[in-house]
């Protein structure tokens, strides 16, 4: 019995003393793929994580992001920045959607191929992730958020197709896009990672871009940090909440600006910078608009002169403002809402008082406070995040 116990103990000790340090080998690109990609692109050895995580103040309201497939987003990033995918090889998606400007453009009308000019201001893509779960009629029916100023695209993929094939922007057919992608050697390994095959199709190109754009989220703003620590005073539709109490980390001016924003702007743009509450609105830019916006697409009279309501995240960086970039800065925008709203038969109700355009009559201090508040919506981390930057070697 004693012998047995000794053998037992020695056996146990021997087993316990075994090596225990883990040595895991993670691989993504093969050596050949790394060499090939390295000739054209600056991509990390292991891919970036494109998972979108909402700040608690948004997720607590039931808002959630659309799932992003990382390998498709990695491929989408390259397509997004690839100028070869335009007719004259000078324009990419990123030409009009610049990372430093929250994926908007600082020109009223962006420059497309052959120096052609776009007909509307480039829409900021820097916070698509905020409302990604709400676009696509298949998911949200009439509550869906749509793309382009005139809401003509249902999804990011539709929107990408629209820009790639627009004569003023990239002026390609989707067939040409797919053929050009197929001809570039660096796409083969990226397609293989994303889709398990090197076969390129128009749909797969769009799916990849959509995954990249869906990952664009701005959640590290000062507003988010404060909202995460605060209790909302009002909860509305589509995850919209409003914070009436002062934020501890805000300056007095920022808190005054927040109050003004809640009272005058949040019913359309949302109080928590989640998804915009309204899909579209006529905000009285003109009493007799030449650009009919959504109405030109749908043909509905009451939508003539209406445009998509944008999120205000990173608004500080997305000047010039409105669908035609008519306002050079935020003060101009506030001047308009203060005294410049024009009458229109279909002016949105929130912008009316006694049947007339509601002039908000902001004082100089009000405007300054509002700008101070709007500046808290900037997410500097996202603007400098490498995973959203141009991957091409210059």
């Amino acid at each position: 019995m004693k012998k047995l116990a000794t053998v037992f103990t020695l056996f146990s000790l021997f087993l316990l003393l075994g090596a225990c340090k883990s040595d895991f080998n993670y691989y993504y690109y093969s050596k050949e793929e790394t060499e090939l990609l390295g000739q054209f692109l600056n991509l990390p050895e292991l891919p970036d994580d494109y998972t979108v995580t909402f700040p608690s103040h948004l997720s607590n309201t039931g808002l959630f992001p659309r799932a992003v497939e990382r390998d498709k987003a990695v491929l989408g990033r390259v397509i997004f920045y690839d100028k070869k995918l335009s007719k004259d090889g000078t324009v990419s998606c990123a030409s009009c959607h610049k990372q430093a400007l929250a994926f908007s453009d600082d020109q009223a009308f962006s420059e497309g191929v052959f120096d052609r000019s776009t007909s509307r201001n480039s829409f900021a893509l820097g916070s698509v992730a905020n409302f990604s779960a709400y676009y696509g009629t298949d998911l949200n029916g009439s509550n869906a958020i749509r793309f382009f100023w005139d809401n003509r695209a249902e999804t990011v993929a539709d929107q990408s197709r629209g820009s790639m094939t627009n004569a003023q922007e990239m002026d390609m057919t989707m067939h040409e896009i797919a053929a050009t992608v197929e001809a570039q050697p660096y796409y083969a390994p990226l397609f293989k990672k994303a889709f398990g095959s090197e076969v390129v199709s128009e749909e797969l190109v769009l799916e990849a871009v959509a995954n990249f754009v869906n990952a664009m989220g701005s959640f590290q703003s000062q507003f988010d940090a404060e909202a995460n620590q605060s209790q909302p005073s009002f909860a509305g539709n589509f995850g919209n909440t409003v914070y009436n109490s002062d934020f501890n980390g805000f300056t007095a001016a920022e808190n005054r600006g927040k109050k003004l924003y809640n009272n005058n702007c949040s019913s359309c743009h949302s109080g928590n910078m989640g998804r915009p509450v309204l899909q579209l609105a006529n905000n009285g830019l003109e009493s007799n608009p030449t650009d009919l916006g959504v109405g030109a697409i749908t043909g509905q009279n009451e939508q003539k002169g209406s445009f998509k309501v944008p999120t205000l995240r990173n608004i500080e960086l997305t000047a010039p403002y409105m669908h035609d970039g008519r306002f050079a800065n935020l003060n101009d925008v506030l001047d308009f809402y203060s005294t410049g709203i024009q009458n229109h038969p279909f002016l949105h109700d929130d912008l009316k008082a006694n049947g007339q355009p509601k002039q908000m009559n902001f004082t100089a201090e009000n405007k300054s406070d509002l700008v101070a508040f709007l500046n808290t919506l900037t997410d500097d981390d996202m603007l400098a995040d490498k995973k959203f930057s141009d991957p091409f070697k210059q």
Binding site: M1, L4, A5, V7, F8, F11, S12, L15, L16, G18, A19, C20, K21, S22, D23, F24, N25, Y26, Y27, Y28, L46, P47, D49, Y50, T51, R66, A67, E69, R70, D71, A133, D138, L139, K193, F195, G196
Partner: protein, 257 residues
Amino acid sequence: MRPFILLFAAFLLFSVGCVQHHYSPNFIQTPYLEKKGDGVVTAAVSGSPGSLNGDFHASYSPVKYGTVMLNYLRTSTSFDNANVFGGTTYHQTTKGYLVEGALGGYLPVFFGTGALYVGWGQGQMRNDFGIGRIADLRLQRFFVQPTFTFKNDWFRLGMGLRLVRLNFPSGDIDYRIEPSDIEKIQRLENESPFWFPELGGNLGVHFRPVTISANLVIVGARPASEYGFDGSNIGVGISLELNELFKKRGQKPIIEE
């Protein structure tokens, strides 16, 4: 007996779920050995929310109070994983095995038998997340396992607590695997080896020399899902007690007059 087996078969079907896993426990073997020369072999099928397992076991007492034990576990899963919001659906599989040996000793305790086993084994868990995205992890398991068994002519009851040290010494991981799954694997890499208890038992009906038993094992790692461990396994097994079998065979045949 038939409803009992059918119930378990139904449970197994429902319990084979749709998650990848990096560790699946075999049953805690409680061989009913009482003297030199006793031996038992067992085969069992088991399921959990993550796996369908084949569990094989053999024990033998070469000396009085001493036992040699061999265990072999085969685990596999196959399912289609559809992403929410129109993402791609991937066919995913898990295949793995664990083979281990143990030495043990037993003594009569109260109305049954108490035993203690110490064992070591190694295996592999190969999760294919679709389109060739594979996480191939090697694992080693050391265990100390006190058990208590009771038997009579008709029933077998065994209980055991397995104290496990689970180590993942190496692995080859395709980084195309979704970030949430990579996170789990990195947790294994960073926190391995794991120490945790497993609690299990079996209850069987004995028909000389065969026992049909229901088995259960519960993993005490908290929370098992964070590491891709199956939290439990339940199944049915059939055991053959070799001493009874050979004793039967060794009996003199009855000669009809």
